[in-house]
């Protein structure tokens, strides 16, 4: 099907906008909320698992995915589009390791994912991805050489941004305002990872419909030792402290 279209379906409007990308962003904003918060000693990503029926098997499919030893990702938007990007990201992460013998820096993986997303806005017969991604990892700081946590967002346009804390999906404007109030103004004051997880859960709670429990949210944490998804039992412990 793609071979028949040598022209891009994403074309400029007279006002200079790429309308398909705007619509993709609308798909993202209609998606389930996701949140990311960076701490002094780690970073947390979290999302709501929106099940339309109690018959769904909550723990068979995950939204938070690991890309490499210390990089994890979550999204807001269309699940199937997300899975394509997870696959592409993992392949690129591991290709880098094959070539250089060491783990890919988070920022470089984000650049490669963003490149994929941009290609779909300028290629024949395809549409942009209907997801925005939140990627959390641990990178070496360029000036000090120390390892620091990082959070990046990737948009359907292929643009990427680094964040201290952010929210995507439904109600993201209110969630971001909530985070702006809570996040310490002073960089040196530093948020501890435990506080960051707490903050992420509270941010999700702001836009949550109904009762939040360990089965309808997902939390992923990256520390110096690597990335992992929290077990429902661990999530329950955090929820109990709210």
């Amino acid at each position: 099907m793609t071979e028949r279209y040598s022209f891009s379906l994403t074309t400029f409007s007279p006002s200079g906008k790429l309308v398909q990308i705007e619509y993709a962003l609308a798909a993202v904003n209609a998606g389930a909320p996701s949140v990311a918060v960076k701490a002094r000693n780690g970073a947390v990503i979290a999302t709501e698992k929106n099940f339309k029926s109690c018959l769904y098997d909550e723990h068979s499919v995950y939204k938070i995915e690991q890309l490499s030893q210390s990089i994890g990702m979550v999204y807001s938007g269309m699940g199937p589009d997300y899975r394509v990007l997870v696959k592409a990201a993992r392949k690129r992460a591991v290709s880098y390791e094959l070539l250089y013998g060491e783990e890919i820096p988070t920022v470089q993986l984000v650049m490669r994912i963003a490149e994929v997303m941009q290609e779909y806005t300028q290629s024949g017969g395809v549409r942009p991805f209907g997801v925005s991604l939140l990627v959390a990892g641990y990178d070496r700081d360029r000036t000090t050489g120390a390892k620091v946590p990082v959070i990046f967002q990737c948009d359907p346009s292929g643009a990427y941004f680094a964040w201290k804390a952010t929210a995507l999906g439904k109600n993201h404007l209110n969630s971001r305002a909530f985070l702006e109030k809570r996040y310490p103004k002073d960089q040196n004051e530093g948020l501890e990872l435990e506080d960051a997880i707490h903050t992420a859960i509270l941010t999700l709670k702001e836009s949550f419909d109904g009762q939040m429990d360990q089965n309808n949210i997902e939390i992923g944490v990256v520390e110096e030792t690597g990335f992992r998804r929290l077990l429902p039992a661990e999530i329950k412990d955090y929820l109990d402290t709210i």
Binding site: L99, Y100, G101, P105, G145
Partner: protein, 149 residues
């Protein structure tokens, strides 16, 4: 016989190589520079097929530099060594294998001094010292003439 040498010190690496290019009784030059600087903290000395050595090490050096241009920071010595090995290994089973033996040495701020031995078949070993005393490698095997008694 060509010779490459490197060893790890307390907070430095020392890398050395001979400077002679010869074939049989003919000495082409005695001021050959085998050293190629790869990053601000890492370099390599190579020996083997003359043309392959220059072509391969220039290719590696430029790609390592490209990494720096793209990302704003340099590859680590470990990354450079593995990248070089990957290239030797990939080219080995192609129409154009590169017959270059190398000793890669670097001293990164985070990981300290390191020395790697890398031979033309893609064998990479991280060691405290590495050397390669190399017979000139030509197809069919070739040994230098025995000296007159």
């Amino acid at each position: 016989m060509e010779c490459l040498l490197a060893f790890v010190g307390k907070d430095f690496v020392l890398i050395a190589a001979d400077a002679t290019s010869r074939r049989s009784i003919l000495t082409y030059t005695q001021d050959l520079d085998r050293f190629v600087k790869l990053t601000s903290t890492c370099g390599v000395v190579g020996a083997g097929d003359e043309g392959d050595r220059v072509q391969f090490l220039e290719y590696i050096a430029k790609n390592v530099q490209l990494y720096k241009m793209r990302n704003g920071y340099e590859l680590s010595t470990h990354g450079v060594a593995n990248y070089t090995r990957r290239n030797i290994a990939d080219f080995l089973r192609s129409r154009t294998p590169y017959q270059v033996n190398m000793v890669i040495a670097g001293c990164d701020r985070e990981t300290g001094p390191a020395v790697y031995f890398l031979d033309y078949l893609g064998c990479l070993n991280k060691q405290n010292y590495a050397s390669a005393r190399i017979r000139l490698q030509l197809p069919g095997g070739f040994a230098p003439p025995t000296p007159h008694p």
